[in-house]
């Protein structure tokens, strides 16, 4: 399973790689990183259908996570990737907007990796079920 992580904080890559080092070693999950909304779209254009899950921060300079979500849901409808939004502000407006735009899940910072792993497992299972 290939997961695209979008965040303007570059250290997020190291963090994910360490947190998921077992899963990466077992190759049950593969991570790709983009550090802005624009970078994420570029990657998606080049590697269509590779990423099945997108984890995106909302507050980023330039294109925000919500804009990215909108693009992804409009452009890559078949099959649309699972998009999970992560934000430091767990406010209802962001949550509702994200949901309206077709976000599949909503997480608040600081990221609870245990919870995230479970969600990924379910997701993975779900996909597996569906697939």
């Amino acid at each position: 399973m290939k997961i695209l992580v979008v965040d303007d904080e570059r250290d997020i890559q190291m963090l994910f790689e360490q947190r998921f080092r077992k899963e990466i070693r077992e190759k049950s999950v593969e991570f790709v990183f983009a550090f802005s909304g624009e970078d994420a779209l570029t990657y998606l254009n080049l590697h269509e259908h590779e990423a099945v899950l997108i984890l995106s921060d909302i507050n980023m300079p330039g294109m925000s996570g919500l804009e990215l979500l909108e693009h992804i849901k409009q452009k890559y409808s078949k099959p649309p990737p699972v998009v999970m939004m992560i934000t430091a502000y767990g406010d209802t407006t962001n949550y509702n907007t994200a949901m309206e735009l077709g976000a599949d899940d909503f997480l608040t910072k600081p990221v609870d990796f245990k919870l995230l792993k479970e969600k990924l497992k379910i997701d993975s299972d779900g996909k597996n079920i569906s697939g």
Binding site: N59, Y89, T92, T93, P110
Partner: protein, 724 residues
């Protein structure tokens, strides 16, 4: 005036006429007295005609020099002469008594005696005695100032003398006529008469007559303004009088010399002569000479400006003249007195004395033909004097009036000065009071200013704290991120160490090394994010710190970005529903500029916060199509002429930081007010009204500008322009 002596000579002549020898000199008095003593030895000597004649001879000599003695000697003679029928002796006695009285200045009584003598002589047909008596009567009238009668008598005397060939009387009458001419101012006629007198006197070998003639000629010379010639005649007269020892002549000449020196302006000599004249005349009991000497002294002192002394002498002269009733001397005394008073500035007395002067002058110049002219002249002189005095009086009145006016003016001025001074004092007090008030108010104002400054400082601090408050949420968020990393990496490291232990048990050295490497990397990340949080906290503290900081080269793009984030997160922390599109457009060439970072950061923060507020405001009213957008951009521009080729961007030019929003814009009517302190559009309690004002001051303090561009309804742009 000066010529009373001629009449004395006339008296002398009359004695001569009474058959005594002309050589009767002072020395003869001794001879006569001896003769008298011899005669007194005779029995019934009082009825002896020889005795009577000798008495008369002695008295005659006394009449001129000691009239009282003459009176005493002659006391019983007229009666005794009459008793024995010796009428010649009686007549002679009367005449001598008249002479004595005339010497004393008692003209009226003298006239009585003369007339008695004349009647007796006329009655008894003593023809030889008549001419001299007529002459003496003429002399009295002259002394009384009655020139016409005097002249009439003198001419009668001359005629009678010529008939009897009495040369002595002829000479005396001529002398006296000359004197009247002299008084009338007919100097040529006077001189002619005196010259004849001189010739006759010489012919008669009469020393006194010669002396008198010289004296009189000298006086004429004086009147003719020829003092040198006068001095010649007078010196002759004086020497003769001294040598021949003729005291009555000497005193006369002495006075005349005094006059002469007075005319010559030799006041010292004049005074000496007049003093001598005064002394001699007093010794001789010669009232006229005394009066004349007093007059002379008065004249000289008047000229010397010694008015007080002059007046005393003039008054003495006047007293003497009054005693005698001598018109010429009275006139002269009044004249000099008036003159002195005039000089003393006593106009009233001067006028009074001039009136008297005029009275006598008028009565003296009364010869028929001369009368009108003389009167006219005197009247003219008088009116001239009067006019002069009227003028003086007017001047005095004017002077008094002026003085009074000046005094009144002075008083008015004084009053004004006092009043003004009072006013000034009041004004001064008033001013003093006002000054005190002003100082009090100034003190209060200063106190207020100090309080205001303190308040302002507090407000600025409040504004800082307010913006800090806005920042806090943003900062919290910014700190949250590194903290998350710290926590996460710490947790990961903990897990990794567990794994490390597991691998160590397994003895998998390669894995151990790999894990250890990761632990170390994480450790570095923990450290990095810890420092990041630290820097944020430091910045926050710096922001709230009081006072001004030093300028430092600051990356303007980085600064703008940092504060944009802070602002955004700050607002999001307060209002989670807020969202806006943030756009940045940074000029890569903006570079470093020398600023106080947190001050300019605060300006940027303030502008961005305002922009967020503006777009947030519009969200409330605008439709769902509205996309709130805030843009921060930087731009570097090189000023023409200031840029250096090859050194672009290093020096010169300016950097602008623009914060644009698409809110409702700034209403035109408040554009001018937005930079004013305490102006705010926010609801009470939400804004200090100092944000833009402080921003403006900060930018100004950096030598830059803070401008606003607004398009109501479409948004606003705030531009910070900073010099590089």
């Amino acid at each position: 005036m000066k010529c009373f002596l001629p009449f004395k000579l006339l008296l002398v002549l009359m004695n001569v006429a009474s058959s005594f020898t002309i050589t009767a000199q002072p020395g003869d008095l001794t001879v006569l007295k001896q003769k008298l003593r011899v005669l007194e030895l005779r029995k019934d000597h009082t009825i002896d005609t020889a005795y009577i004649n000798t008495i008369n001879q002695v008295a005659f000599l006394y009449a001129d020099r000691s009239p009282d003695s003459a009176f005493a000697i002659l006391k019983d003679i007229p009666g005794k002469s009459a008793a024995i029928g010796y009428f010649t002796g009686e007549t002679e006695s009367y005449k001598i008594l008249g002479n004595a009285l005339q010497t004393k200045g008692d003209f009226d009584k003298a006239l009585e005696y003369y007339e008695r003598a004349y009647q007796l002589a006329d009655e008894k047909k003593y023809r030889n005695m008549l001419p001299a008596l007529l002459g003496n009567i003429g002399l009295i009238y002259f002394n009384k100032g009655n020139y016409p009668v005097s002249l009439q008598k003198l001419y009668a005397s001359l005629k009678a003398a010529e008939a009897t060939k009495d040369k002595l009387v002829i000479r005396s009458s001529l002398n006296n006529i000359g004197t009247i001419h002299f008084y009338q101012g007919k100097m040529e006629e006077a001189e002619l008469a005196y010259q004849k007198t001189l010739d006759l006197s010489k012919e008669l070998s009469d020393t006194s007559g010669v002396i008198l003639a010289y004296n009189n000629l000298g006086e004429v010379n004086l009147e003719q303004n020829n003092p040198a010639k006068a001095l010649g005649h007078l010196t002759l007269a004086y020497n003769l009088a001294s040598i021949k020892n003729v005291p009555d002549m000497l005193v006369a000449v002495t006075n005349t010399l005094g006059d002469t020196y007075f005319r010559l302006d030799s006041t010292k000599e004049a005074i000496t002569y007049f003093n001598t004249g005064l002394r001699l005349s007093k010794e001789q009991g010669n009232a006229r000479a005394t009066c004349k000497a007093f007059l002379g002294l008065a004249k000289v002192q008047n000229k010397q400006g010694l008015y007080k002394e002059a007046l005393v002498n003039a008054m003495e002269a006047l007293r003497k003249a009054n005693e005698m009733g001598q018109a010429q001397l009275l006139r002269d005394s009044y004249e000099i007195a008036a003159d002195i008073y005039e000089n003393m500035g006593d106009g009233n007395n001067a006028i009074k004395y001039y009136r008297n002067y005029n009275l006598y002058a008028d009565s003296l110049v009364s010869i028929e033909n001369e009368r009108a002219a003389a009167n006219y002249k005197a009247g003219y002189e008088f009116s001239k004097k009067e006019l002069q005095f009227a003028r003086k009086s007017l001047q005095q009145r004017w002077l008094i009036f002026s003085a009074c006016a000046a005094l009144i003016s002075l008083l008015i001025i004084l009053w004004l000065v006092i009043r003004n001074r009072k006013r000034l004092t009041l004004t001064y007090k008033d001013l003093q009071h006002k000054k005190e008030l002003i100082e009090e108010q100034k003190r209060k104002a200063e106190e207020t200013l100090v309080q205001l400054k303190a308040t302002q400082a507090q407000l600025i601090q409040s504004e800082k704290m307010a913006s800090l408050g806005e920042l806090t949420a943003g900062i919290a968020h910014e700190i949250q991120n590194p903290l998350n990393f710290v926590n996460n990496f710490s947790e990961v490291n903990s897990e990794l160490i567990d794994e490390l232990v597991e691998e160590a048990v397994k003895g998998n050295l390669q894995e151990i090394q790999s894990i250890a490497k990761e632990i170390k990397e994480n450790e570095q990340r923990i450290n990095h994010h810890g420092k990041r949080a630290d820097a944020i906290v430091k910045g926050m503290l710096q922001h709230s710190r009081k006072g001004s900081d030093l300028k430092e080269a600051t990356d303007i793009n980085k600064l703008a970005d940092e504060y944009l984030r802070l602002a955004y997160h700050g607002l999001r922390a307060k209002d989670k529903s807020f969202n806006a599109t943030l756009k940045t457009d940074f000029d890569k060439n903006a570079g470093n500029i020398n600023i106080v970072p947190h001050d300019i950061g605060r300006v940027i923060l303030n502008l961005i916060t305002n922009a967020f507020y503006a777009v947030g405001d519009k969200v409330q009213s605008a439709g769902s199509d509205y996309q709130p957008t805030v843009t921060v951009s930087t731009k570097r521009t090189s000023l023409p002429g200031k840029s250096h080729p090859g050194l672009s961007g290093e020096t010169g030019g300016e950097v602008s930081i623009t914060v644009t929003d698409n809110g409702n814009g700034v209403p035109q009517k408040i554009v001018d007010k937005i930079f004013q302190p305490f102006f705010t559009t926010k609801p009470t309690g939400q804004g200090t009204g100092l944000g833009l004002s402080l921003s403006y001051d900060i930018v100004k303090a950096h030598g830059g500008e803070l401008k606003v561009v607004t398009n109501p309804g479409e948004g606003a742009g705030f531009i910070i322009i900073l010099p590089v």
